[in-house]
Amino acid sequence: MSVAVAARIARRELRGGLSGFRVFLACLALGVAAIAAVGSVRESIQDGLRRNGAVLLGGDAQMSFTYRSADAAERAWMAGIATRVSETVDFRSMAVVERDGVAERALTEVKAVDGLYPLYGAVELEPALPLDAALTGDGAVMARVLADRLGLSVGDGFRLGEKAFTLRAILIRAPDDAAGGFGLGPPTILRRAALEGAGLLAPGTLFDTDYRLALPAGADLAALEAEATRRFRDSGMRWRDSRNAAPGMTMFVERVGAFLVLVGLAGLAVGGVGVSAAVRAYLDGKTAVIATLKTLGAEGRTIFMAYLMQIGVLAALGIGLGLVLGGAVPLLLAPLIEAQLPVPADIRFHPGPLAEAALYGALTALLFTLWPLARTAEVRAAALFRDASGPVRAMPGPRVLAALVALAALLVGAAAVLSGVPDLALWAAAGILGALLLLVAAARAVRWLARRGARAKALRGHSALRLALGAVGGPGGEATSVVLSLGLGLSVLAAVGQINANMQAAIAEELPGVAPSYFIVDIQPDQLPGYLARVERDPGVHKVQTAPMLRGVITRINGRPAREVAGDHWVLNGDRGVTSSDSAPEGTVITQGAWWPEGYDGPPVMSFADEEAREMGLKLGDAVTVNILGRDITATITSFRVVDFSTAGIGFVLSMNPGALQGAPHTAISTIYADAAAEAPLLRDLAAAYPNITAIRVRDAIDRVSEVLRGLAAAVTYGAMATLVTGLFVLIGAAAAGERARVFEAAVLKTVGAVRGQVLAYFALRSAILGAAAGLVAVFAGGLAGWAVMTFVMEADYTFEPVSALLIVSGGVLATLLAGLGFALRPLAARPARVLRARE
């Protein structure tokens, strides 16, 4: 019954139009639109990945082996289920061009293919020849960056190992590009048969063999995967199929998408502040109406409902606008976005992400308006006869508080579940909440300080500054909502800036200090003495480490299947590097147990990486079975040792006594720590003497990683910008809402003798103080987030990055100044008489 009354009241009130709700609508619409757009693009990419799975993978399914080709049993099983099987071998090598006695070398990821490749899709070349034509004889194709680096044109010759090849075309795009994931070098494609005599695939060399399978229509991929896994997992077979052709890419898109959605949620929180301020202002204007309704006998509940309904209608409108915008923008920009993506995406309308965005929008709107709405019930009829801005309770009542907590939990829970990255979502939520609390506290502190400052004797006489401080510290919610909204937007940006700068510093500046210059792989055992002689003799080399390397799959622990014991730990996924050493390598830190005695020749024993062992629940004396090239070796754990994977040095989870690995074909890997000046001549000599080895320049790899990171940071910065734009809307909204008050103040100030310069200085200072406060708090919050991420997630050092911080503070000041002064023109121009007369 009271619902019907409330609805009628709501409808009448809404007849007034939407003019007071522009900021409300903009904030909500923008936040929802950003999330909907990100979600739509992400969904489209994932959809594209799913639908083009077979092309991306190069087959309906793929079985891969490291270090070896499939054996007879595996081949027979594949032949049994597939209509066609294409075999490719992937490895890293050095492409060499000799010109006038000077050799140019570049790392490349070689894909040696058979005549069936690619099973699906086509390789795009320039000039546009068929792949078969390009690869006849000694033909090869390579990516443009690689050809450019080597100064190669189509028709030129180059060398891989000991074999000469001719570049027949530039590789523009291979259908299975995206499935490969992160490569250390640009690709070269050639015929498997052409590698004969190159000396590159000697036993023990690190290579992968992939078998792409074309399956009969209607093949049950899940069943086949289960079958293949059951049969061949323990011999190191890895399965992949068109259901998830590019897991790395899928994961990447998922992660980035999830991250952007979280940034979008921060934007929505900023919008929430604006929404809250708008509703507060609206309801403040309604005090008289509410008091009158109460005088006429309306209950608090009825009034609450009436305004809840109004806000509900408006929120629905804002969310609807946001969905239209967020759904339509990706569609409109589809050609642009699709061209930017490395994977096939067909940008289309997806209801899922829109529903997700709508849910977030609705929860946020409710979360941020409930308290101001609840306060309508507190308005007394007596408010009609007194100033409305009387004392307001600082805290919501217990019922409202409980509802707010429940709503917040619902919102965070939804984000945790829907984003697919619950940890990250919870952390982000904690971060946003923390930032909001910090900002509320900061806003209070700013107001308190401003009030104190306005009273300070030292400031007397500086009228503009004192007026500004008085205004910031005085009654009215502008300070709080500006510091909150702008501060939160800037905080996100500051956090991104701090984290990015620190990551870049860690990767580009600190890492090279501790990382080796070169990683050398595929050194044959008989090459090792000569190799070491050359390297150790070089005065520019301060350290060289070598270790034998094999790869093996941990299959059993204490006789039981490894996964049953240790769960789905990454060490158990696929094959791991295994090394051996007679004595503990220099600098080894044993945490438990002891290294085997030198010359030990008993039953196999192993040392396991300490942290991973703890995660997997291993203890001294456990028996671990490792399958190395089809042979099971069971070794007893006799020690745990610290393995640091972060410095790019040699790091093996497993090390065994040499006797245990006797007879297994292996190569050595080596790290060289050398002065920059010594690097090039050393590499030249080594590559000339041992054409089969591959040198990975760590600096280049680091550059690749930091490039990827930079791209990520850019994407996130765009996301943060959306947050900031919302913050600016709130800012402009606050400035616009304050315009009437400014007009009045200016008129009064002029009446008591203020010249326009003084009024302008007052307005400017007032804005700048708020902007600076928001910026400073944001820098603090961003620094805190940066410190937390670096310390707890990256486990690296954090140093404060001043440049982005400075930009953010000045950006904050500039934004508030522009918004404030933009709305100062009318107040400055207005004639006092007109203004004050209208107020009589």
Binding site: G474, F744, V748, G753, V755, R831, P832, R837
Partner: protein
């Protein structure tokens, strides 16, 4: 007789409203002598407030001249007018017009500060004490009654010791007792500082306390009334 402190000559005022331009004052000529208390009376809408605004330089005459202390207000720009008011004019309105984000003390100190007075706050405190608000200095306008707000407004107008006080129905929003108190304060201020006072009022008993009364009717000085003086 000495030169008048305020001299209006053939002043017209045209305002552009939504319904087009309206001439509100049609050639008003009026002198106010130094130290004099002038009552402006007339029916609602006759142009009293408009005339007062013109005297304070808060409104600009469409034609004619407004001389104050021998200076031509119509020839000044906005900032010159503001500086002139700062030194010579105090204005009190019917609805107080305090700045809501400032405490009583800050409201009163503002004109002094704008004028660059080094002891703005001390003088403001004194002024508030004089209007009986010693205990309300740190209150915001929203925390004060109408009578108290008007007293703050009076203190603000009087603080810079203006030569002229312009008051537009200062008791119009107050009850009898409060209104009487305000009027006593206003006349007290005038007496203490020897200021000239121009008072717009509807109340006959207030008009009676003035030295001279000028009536307005439809934007003109009411000759009949003047003759009756």
């Amino acid at each position: 007789m000495a030169a008048p402190i305020l001299a209006l000559k053939d002043v017209t005022l045209t305002l552009k409203g939504n319904a087009g331009a309206v001439e509100i004052l049609h050639g008003v000529s009026l002198d106010v002598q130094r130290g004099e208390t002038l009552g402006l009376v007339g029916p609602s809408g006759s142009g009293k407030s408009s005339l007062l605004m013109l005297m304070g330089g808060l409104e600009r005459a469409t034609s004619g001249t407004v001389m104050a202390m021998g200076q031509d207000l119509t020839a000044m720009n906005e900032d010159q007018l503001a500086r002139f008011r700062r030194q010579h004019m105090g204005v009190v309105f019917q609805s107080f017009h305090l700045i809501p984000t400032m405490t009583a003390l800050e409201n009163v100190a503002t004109p002094l500060e704008l004028a660059g007075a080094p002891d703005a706050f001390e003088r403001a405190e004194e002024e508030l004490r004089a209007v009986g608000l010693a205990t309300r200095m740190d209150h915001y306008p929203g925390q004060m009654s109408g009578g108290e707000q008007q007293r703050v407004a009076l203190a603000r107008a009087a603080a810079p010791r203006p030569d002229t006080l312009l008051a537009d129905e200062p008791t119009g929003n107050l009850d009898g007792a409060n209104g009487a108190a305000i009027m006593d304060l206003l006349f007290g201020l005038r007496d203490r500082h020897g200021a000239t006072l121009v008072l717009v009022t509807h109340a006959p008993e207030l008009a009676a306390r003035c030295d001279r009364i000028v009536g307005l009717l439809d934007g003109r000085v009411d000759r009949a009334r003047k003759a009756a003086e």
